[in-house]
């Protein structure tokens, strides 16, 4: 129990009359990598966004480090410092340089000294091979570069958990690998706890400790990663895997 970072119990989510998530329950242990798989519209993105307070929920509980989250604006604002998130559309702030994008939240939200964060930011940039771009503006970067910066920006907050929502979905094929390698390294080297929504099956097979397979807002299958790709338990998951053709 002690090493459970995130625990979701009986989560239901509605948009008006339409139910987007049905009775979702799962947990995430420290250092674990969970990937959410499933056809588009299955609720993967809704689920991962709910875990960061971007989608409100009423029914069910989400607990962070053993504490049930009271979903007020203020609580989420504090929690988001520990739950980092990266999006499909990178969303760097176009009005700030690469460095200022990274420094903004650590210095303003966490009030850490600028020099200290800057040193760390440069190291992180080095790791993603973009140290030469510190003073560039987002418009001068390629999609793959922007996404790597967005990951660094989230990491600079020292999050306990990272959420990745289809982070390679709008990248050109040749950019995808660089981004995925960084995520893989985060798991292998830093043992970062992560939840990943992706359509890259090869990548998911390599990185997932556990797979949640969703369809129509329900978890159909919750299986250890290796086992899911070798022997999916449900027929729907088999069909899904064979349709992905990887």
């Amino acid at each position: 129990m002690a090493d459970e970072i995130l625990k979701v119990e009986h989560l239901n989510k509605f948009y008006g009359d339409w139910q987007a998530l049905h009775d979702i329950s799962f947990d995430l242990k420290k250092g674990e990598v969970v990937t959410l798989l499933g056809p588009s519209g299955s609720g993967k993105s809704t689920l991962i966004r709910t875990l960061n307070g971007l989608e409100p929920f009423k029914d069910g509980t989400i607990s962070f480090k053993g504490q049930a989250i009271d979903p007020t604006i203020k609580n989420w604002q504090a929690l988001r410092q520990e739950i980092g998130m990266v999006f499909q559309s990178y969303d760097l702030f176009p009005n700030l340089t690469v460095l200022d994008n990274i420094l903004l939240a650590p210095t303003k939200v966490q009030k850490r000294p600028r020099e200290e964060v800057k040193k760390e930011a440069l190291e992180l940039l080095e790791r993603v091979h973009l140290a030469d771009q510190v003073d560039s503006y987002p418009r001068q970067l390629s999609g793959g570069q922007k996404q790597r910066i967005a990951i660094v920006r989230a990491l600079a907050m020292h999050p306990e958990v990272m959420l990745f929502d289809e982070v390679t979905a709008s990248l050109d094929p040749e950019m995808v690998r660089g981004v995925l390698e960084i995520i893989k390294e985060l798991s292998d080297r830093d043992h970062m706890t992560m939840i990943i929504v992706t359509h890259e099956m090869n990548f998911a097979a390599k990185i997932a400790d556990k797979v949640l397979f969703l369809e129509d807002g329900r978890i159909l299958e919750q299986t250890p990663g290796k086992q899911f790709f070798a022997h999916p338990q449900t027929e729907r998951a088999q069909e899904f895997l064979s349709s992905m053709d990887f």
């Binding site: 604002q77 988001r80 410092q81 969303d91 760097l92 009005n95 939200v109």
Partner: protein, 226 residues
């Protein structure tokens, strides 16, 4: 004996007096813009917040200025302040007041529109980093909104400058009022002077406004490229 009308422009201090009148118009415009943009930014921010009462009041405020012509605004301030509230200030300050309130109304709409057109993704990625609402405004939305609203703001400035031509109606010694005086004083000696004086003022306004509107157009074109 009638001289050629154009020479009236350069007789005595006429030309300098006209430029002095233009200067009055320009500083009234500049001051109203500074005050109006500050007030308008605040109103615009308030209009993106959730409080319905504040939003409704500010909408009424904006609609009032959308309906009432600026010349009528000037008269409202000019007649009602002294007679109704016993506030006596120079006409120039009344003009600054009327223009400021007008600019604030127009600019609040520009600010609101610009903030709302910052993509939803930008808000979310700011929130995901743990920024508070205020930090989100201060570091993400306002700077981006500023860039989006710049062309509209410059266009508003050109309109304020053009609207200073109405100052003569509340007896301010602006460029047109000075022009009228010169025309009247020289009517006998230079019957065609009126054509040249008003022609010159026409050109002066163009010289002030045209570069600004070229700048606004240039910025708009640049934003479309991105």
């Amino acid at each position: 004996m009638a001289h050629s009308g154009i020479s009236v422009l350069f007789e005595g201090t006429n030309f300098v007096r006209l430029l002095g009148g233009l200067w009055t118009a320009v500083w009234i415009a500049a001051l109203s813009l500074v005050f109006g943009l500050i007030l308008g930014t605040i109103f615009g921010l308030l209009r993106t917040m959730r409080n319905r009462l504040i939003r409704f009041i500010l909408l009424l405020y904006l609609e009032f200025f959308r309906i009432v012509p600026t010349i009528v605004l000037l008269f409202l301030v000019y007649y009602i302040l002294p007679r109704q509230f016993n506030i006596n200030m120079p006409a120039t300050w009344m003009a600054v007041l009327a223009f400021t309130l007008w600019v604030a109304a127009e600019f609040s709409d520009i600010v609101r529109g610009a903030i709302e057109s910052v993509p939803q993704h930008q808000r979310e990625s700011g929130l995901a980093l743990g920024l508070t609402q205020w930090q989100l405004f201060r570091y993400v939305l306002l700077p981006q909104a500023f860039r989006l609203e710049l062309p509209a703001t410059i266009n508003l400035a050109t309109r304020v400058i053009k609207t200073t031509s109405l100052l003569m109606t509340i007896s301010i010694m602006d460029v047109i009022n000075v022009g009228q005086q010169i025309v009247e004083a020289n009517n006998q000696s230079h019957p065609t002077g009126v054509f040249w004086v008003y022609g010159l003022i026409f050109i002066l306004y163009f010289i002030v406004d045209y570069p600004l509107s070229v700048w606004a157009k240039h910025l708009t074109a640049k934003q479309k490229e991105i």
